[in-house]
């Protein structure tokens, strides 16, 4: 199987995921539990994706390498709580990441 076929199959599958519940909703009523859960999808998905990325960036062979991503993430959380704006996290977190990376030297 060529890389092109693999990518087309992965793309078709991803599209089916995207449209699956939209088509189902046309033919049947979605379970009430699913509709109630929909308000939690974004925070749960983004928390999982963020935690996975931070874990991936922190789990190096060197313990000191974990300091910049963990420190930047902690400061980003504090910045969002303080300013109550999403952009505060990268705006404050990236300089902290660069600073800690320069200090720790990873």
């Amino acid at each position: 199987m060529t890389p092109f076929v693999v990518i087309v199959l992965a793309g078709l599958g991803s599209y089916l995921f995207r449209i699956s519940m939209v088509l189902l909703a046309e033919r049947m009523r979605l379970p009430e539990r699913l509709e109630r859960a929909s308000s939690f999808v974004a925070p749960a998905a983004f928390a999982a994706l963020a935690a996975t990325s931070i874990a991936a960036a922190s789990m190096g062979a060197d313990v000191a390498a974990a300091v910049p991503p963990l420190g930047a993430s902690a400061v980003a959380v504090a910045a969002v709580r303080l300013f109550r704006r999403a952009w505060a996290a990268p705006l404050v977190g990236m300089p902290v990441l660069w600073l800690l990376t320069a200090v720790v030297g990873s």
């Binding site: 890389p3 092109f4 087309v8 992965a10 449209i19 935690a51 960036a57 991503p69 952009w87 990236m94």
Partner: protein
């Protein structure tokens, strides 16, 4: 059958919603564009043709799944495993689809086909935010489209630029870390009630605990655990 624009009150209202969606997407681009550049670089450096790597953009249209597909194909992984891995990573799209289904019910088939194609984390957030504000539902559709098209164009341009010039970006900037930081911001501003806090915290903890689970299944487990925790907290409060 109604078209989307039939129900948007005026052309001015239509333009305002389209522009509003596009503006709401701009902060996301700060994180998304570097990620797209990284994927472009990966596509150019992989042991597959650069065009095949670039095609993951319009076809798979999901950064983590694209990176996984390019890297696994480059490493010579079995085609079935590559497809399965990309699909597992994108499985969360079923949940996004479920969340948007209620808003898109009764819209024209072409609209649902297009809107579903453009559905990914940032477009879901921008669209969902507008729909949750209520008001004119058709205006919400146009708002979603404005944000989603800006994202799609920026994503493909970033991948193209990355495949062409991205190898010259200094790795020391760690621009890939913009994505988790922006996600922290998006989660942080939503923690207004106990049930949402419980959902996000549970999801983050399970994601770390399940980090080593193969095929990126940990992310899916974490989302499901977060949803369960949120629903449980909501039920307890009733």
């Amino acid at each position: 059958m109604l078209s989307i624009t039939d129900v948007v009150a005026t052309p001015r209202g239509y333009a305002a919603e389209l522009g509003g969606g596009a503006r709401a997407m701009l902060p996301w681009l700060a994180g998304v564009v570097p990620f797209g550049l990284v994927i472009g670089v990966a596509a150019a450096q992989a042991n597959i043709s650069t065009f095949a790597g670039w095609l993951t953009g319009p076809l798979i249209y999901g950064g983590s799944a694209q990176i996984a597909a390019i890297e696994m194909l480059s490493a010579g992984a079995s085609p079935a495993v590559v497809v399965l891995t990309a699909l597992v990573i994108n499985l969360r799209l079923v949940l996004y689809s479920g969340a948007m289904a209620a808003y898109w019910r009764g819209t024209p088939r072409w609209w649902r086909a297009l809107a579903a194609y453009l559905l990914i984390d940032p477009s879901f957030v921008v669209g969902n935010d507008r729909y949750e504000r209520g008001g004119d539902r058709a205006g919400g559709h146009v708002h979603y489209l404005g944000g989603a098209v800006v994202l799609w164009v920026a994503w493909l341009l970033a991948i193209t630029a990355g495949a062409t010039f991205g190898a010259q970006l200094p790795a020391a900037l760690h621009l890939e870390f913009l994505i988790p930081l922006y996600l922290i911001g998006e989660v942080g501003r939503r923690l207004s009630d106990v049930a949402t806090r419980r959902a996000a915290l549970t999801s983050a903890v399970v994601a770390v605990l399940a980090f080593a689970v193969p095929l990126h299944l940990g992310v899916l487990l974490a989302i499901v655990a977060g949803l369960a925790a949120g629903l449980r907290a909501k039920a307890v409060r009733r």
